[in-house]
Amino acid sequence: MITKRIIPCLDVRNGRVVKGTNFENLGDVNDPVALASYYSEAGADELVFYDITASSEGRALFTDILKKTAETIFIPLTVGGGINTIDDFDRVLKCGADKVSVNSGAIRNPDLICEAAKKYGDQCVVISADVKRVDGQFTVFAKGGRENTGMEAISWIRRCVGNGAGEVVLNSIDTDGVKNGFDLEMLDAVCSAVSVPVIASGGAGKAEDFVTLFKTLPKVDAGLAASIFHFGEVKIGDLKRLLAENGINVRQITEEREL
């Protein structure tokens, strides 16, 4: 049976991972390639690289990093951040990305998803939505959660999926950073509205939060987190063992053998 995916997210600025880490055995904790291999070996099922660079120099560094990572590790890579045009899709796909996640770019130009899905297939296009409750309504925010678009989130996500987005990353601004667990209510609403895979993001503070997520909402396909992995609070191997003990089907990494 298909396994639940655990996805660490790396924020990259000017070619370096932001948010410090305190891993042992990792010489340069801010080196995205080293960190990506570390996660891959630990059993990460997929990696998200998020480009938070604003300058074109930073962007060039980012694609360089992406290329080096794709040459080194062989699990699916999703790229987000600064994706506004088909050329941006092309740029990161050529460097080894498998999926591209769009957020503000799709809000500015909803046809972007259509166009990209036609050109690269639905499986390549991920809609990433930053959602917050405003007056009791799930509302989409743009520009890294700074700008209220006024759009109702469930209908927005449904529209993106209708346009060809093959996966949804739901980031709850309400639970993000609180470290008290994923936003189960919001996730449930999205899972009921779409038939494509849904990736939960925002709120993981401990390994048990992933158990609660997959136990409560079996429809959720994957859990994404950044800081708890980077700071070593949760180790992916331990997390997967805990999930397996709780009857959740995950991919276990077997001992590496020589090729």
């Binding site: 049976m1 590790i73 699990i75 499986q123």
Partner: protein, 206 residues
């Protein structure tokens, strides 16, 4: 040398990199002479069957692949590349494939329970059929090892060729094999060290 067939479909960066990672020379090429000189062939593919099959035909590489395969050269089709080995596909109509594997590619919809999502996307375990010897592709991995799938259609009517299955509400074809022709529905180049070991095993097939 392994020839990774470039016919304008899909992203070959990871595939090429994965051969470098296992220390095997691979060339991404659409040149019939290079393909003729190669020791083995990879037929990749993502996207829609009709479009990919047309591009392969228009490039004339379909005949090159068939000719080289008939000489006994090992061929590995990956994902849509595996599906193209079949006689036909029912993805949006009916389209002819290369006919190297008996069977048809059919939609998963209706075959798997309605509550399961399509595409089948993510890591799933390999099941080896009891009634046949283990494929040479799997000499370095174990039954149950997980590999990465992304697909909405599957290889059907191909019982004799199935070398591995995976369970997604139903048993689906994970890989096929007939003589020197191999195909994996999953992406070995995205399946971590298990995937690299499968590619390594392929490069050792004579």
């Amino acid at each position: 040398m392994t020839a990774i067939i470039d016919y304008g479909v899909g992203n070959l960066f990871s595939l090429k990199s994965s051969f470098a990672a296992i220390g095997c020379e691979a060339v991404v090429t659409g040149d019939p002479d290079v393909i003729a000189e190669s020791e083995r062939i990879i037929l990749p593919g993502v996207g829609a069957f009709e479009d990919a099959a047309r591009k392969l035909r228009d490039s004339g590489l379909d005949r090159v692949v068939i000719r080289e395969t008939e000489k006994g050269k090992p061929l590995l089709g990956i994902c849509l590349g595996m599906q193209m080995l079949f006689e036909k596909s029912y993805e949006y109509g009916e389209h002819a494939g290369l006919g190297l594997i008996a069977g048809a590619v059919r939609p998963m919809k209706g075959v798997i329970p309605d509550e399961l999502k399509i595409p089948h996307i993510g890591w799933n375990g390999l099941i080896f059929p009891k009634n046949r010897e283990r494929s040479a592709l799997y000499r370095y991995i174990d039954e149950g090892d997980c590999v990465y799938f992304v697909h909405s259609y599957y290889g059907a009517d191909c019982d004799e060729s199935v070398s591995a299955l995976t369970e997604y509400g139903a048993l689906l074809t994970a890989s096929v094999e007939r003589g020197n022709v191999f195909g994996t529905q999953f992406h070995p180049e995205k399946s971590g060290s298990v995937g690299l070991r499968i590619l390594k095993a392929f490069t050792e097939i004579e």
